[in-house]
Symmetry: C2
Subunit: 341 residues, 2 copies
DNA sequence: GACGCCTACTGAACCGTTACGGTCAGGATG
DNA sequence: CATCCTGACCGTAACGGTTCAGTAGGCGTC
């Protein structure tokens, strides 16, 4: 009996020594963690569910910021962090069923994500980060995406921009690389994207810009390369645009690259903005909406682990901050004239 | 009996339906993953052990590169990735004992790391990345750090550099921020650092530079801030240095920052080099030794998961490549004279 | 010396699943 | 009609640890 390992106070030193000696002789490798977990009903780990392939967690700077905060909370509580392998190709939920964890953190997944539904069926507490929103009985931490984007929109309209184009990430299930038409916009299943676009729409409406006329280019992949490509598509079809609003820093980084390739000076020839506040964006002077990424991860972890009072689900909204840097400026004089000044 | 969930072929459709219906009515949440793990002796996850705090995994760009590759291998095999929480402060090995995993990947830890010793006691396969080296019966993947640094050293001596200073990361247990004296260098417990320094020593020896005269500044923390600080210490004490060799890109990034603050032009006034080949380094034109970070992670994961033939431990050494960019150049003319030309 | 209490230790039940062997019904075959 | 075989279904043991009730023995007290 391996009280010897866990309750040194419960048995005398000589017996303990004898037990340990015998264990060593028999090659006993110490208590089995899985059996212990079964008995104690504690796995000592938190599961993390992403909407993307697992490796995405280490590729997207916004995700790594969040995860750094989450890892911080976990290590303080002595809990492990289990990255649940989701297969992007064919839908296979078994990994969610397999995960031996005491709770789940769900990071920014689609409303109808089958993996997420599988998580909800598990009898363990769950915290959602960002999306989906408004799920019955589930804690959530996020930021006010709409207000953040509204502030950015006002910054742009204040500079005089009227002809704006948008680069956004995946809006719903299905592979749509190209313009997002009205139908697509009506069926968004990534609420964060919906909110950010709504904030932009509201801000543009304040100066009389018709949302229907604003071109929106969607990309399935979320990477600088996709942003670069999308920027090419946007500016190819709408060369009169004076500002490119991206719903993430990653896409904006790609847009900056495209502008440089095309010989456009930022912000003199074109304004480019992001969203998230990643270190990369800061380094290149990207005007963006900063959100407290690490903090968000930390709060998500703490909400899941503390959870002493499981009264009603808690919803935490963290503040965003408009970071005006060098990638935004007034449109050229002739553009201003063109747009009605 | 929950054959219904796992072996749909073993029982007829109507019975299966009845069982599932009854389960639903009783609120049965599906088979318990922990009990399943106990019975099948498979946890469906790989443990990751770091030498640093857990959140470090998401902060260090070299680590994230490695982890991206590792995550890729895991998700392809349908395995989870469990980040084991190690407490940097007081030594607590219980987390290693608690981890319900089928194997461990150990990333770049000290030779005498107590967590690592705990991992070795666990009766599961283990793969080490980078360090420690030459552990009995343990697979390892790494790069030829010594050869990589030798190539870099020759590049520098070829440019004419003779007065070189070094910035390196932690060399052994204990908090030493400052010069690394002979005693410290003799008791290095991070073999990677030992190898990289040895490569530099060999390269300098080829042109007659006495290793004893080369100042080496050590930092406990591994961050750009630490690099910046260490560069200030190095150049403060040895203003005649023409090249700062850093044992990582992260430190080199800090050194570049310090050079800029001090008004030194790179590479005209001073040459700064790194090691690793991170995206950040590439973006700022850092001359460095590139290693295939993602590939290293992928190989580590595959070695652990395939492991069909557990004959003898395998050791894989991946190639490095010298990346000469804009942070290295010949020393100033007067410096060349000074150093004996 | 009997009683009771406290400590050190032992034994058995239980966590929830899977693997495996046994039972039983029903159809095919001689 | 008896026998054999097959497939569906069910019961049970074991995985390895924790927990808790129970027991033995030592010692103090009246």
């Amino acid at each position: 009996m391996s009280n010897a390992y866990n309750r040194p106070d419960q048995l005398s030193a000589p017996l303990r020594a004898r037990v340990l000696e015998a264990a060593r002789r028999l090659g006993y490798p110490g208590p089995d963690p899985v059996a212990r977990s079964l008995r104690t009903r504690k796995a000592g780990a938190v599961g993390l569910l992403l909407t993307e392939a697992l490796s995405y967690a280490f590729r997207d700077p916004a995700a790594t910021g969040f995860l750094e905060g989450l890892a911080l909370a976990c290590e303080q509580a002595g809990q492990g962090l289990l990255l649940v392998p989701v297969s992007p190709d064919h839908v296979d939920v078994t990994a969610v069923h397999q995960a031996g964890v005491d709770g789940f953190v769900v990071y920014s997944v689609r409303e109808d994500d089958p993996h997420f539904l599988a998580v909800l069926e598990r009898p363990v507490p769950t915290v959602v980060c960002d999306q989906p929103m408004n799920v019955e009985g589930v804690d959530r931490v996020g930021v006010d995406d709409r207000a953040g984007m509204l502030a950015l929109a006002r910054h742009l309209t204040g500079l005089g921009h009227r002809r704006v184009g948008v680069l956004c990430m995946r809006l719903a299930a299905g592979h749509n690389d190209g313009p997002a038409d009205a139908e697509r916009l009506a069926s968004i299943t990534y609420p964060v994207q919906r909110e950010r676009l709504a904030g932009l729409r509201d801000g543009l409406a304040e100066v009389g810009v018709d949302w229907e006329t604003v071109p929106i280019i969607e990309r399935f992949e979320h990477s600088p390369e996709a942003g670069q490509d999308a920027a090419a598509e946007l500016l190819g079809a709408h060369p009169d645009i004076t500002a490119v609003v991206c719903t993430s820093d990653v896409l904006a980084l790609g847009a900056l690259k495209h502008a440089a390739d095309r010989g456009l000076k930022v912000p003199d020839d074109i304004t480019i903005t992001g969203f998230d506040g990643t270190p990369e964006g800061e380094r290149v002077g990207l005007t963006t909406v900063e959100q407290p990424l690490r903090e968000k991860g930390r709060v998500a972890g703490e909400m899941l682990l503390e959870r002493g009072d499981r009264n009603k689900p808690r919803h935490v909204l963290l503040p965003t901050e408009l970071a005006v840097r060098t990638s935004s400026g007034p449109p050229r004089r002739e553009e201003r004239f063109f747009s009605g000044w």
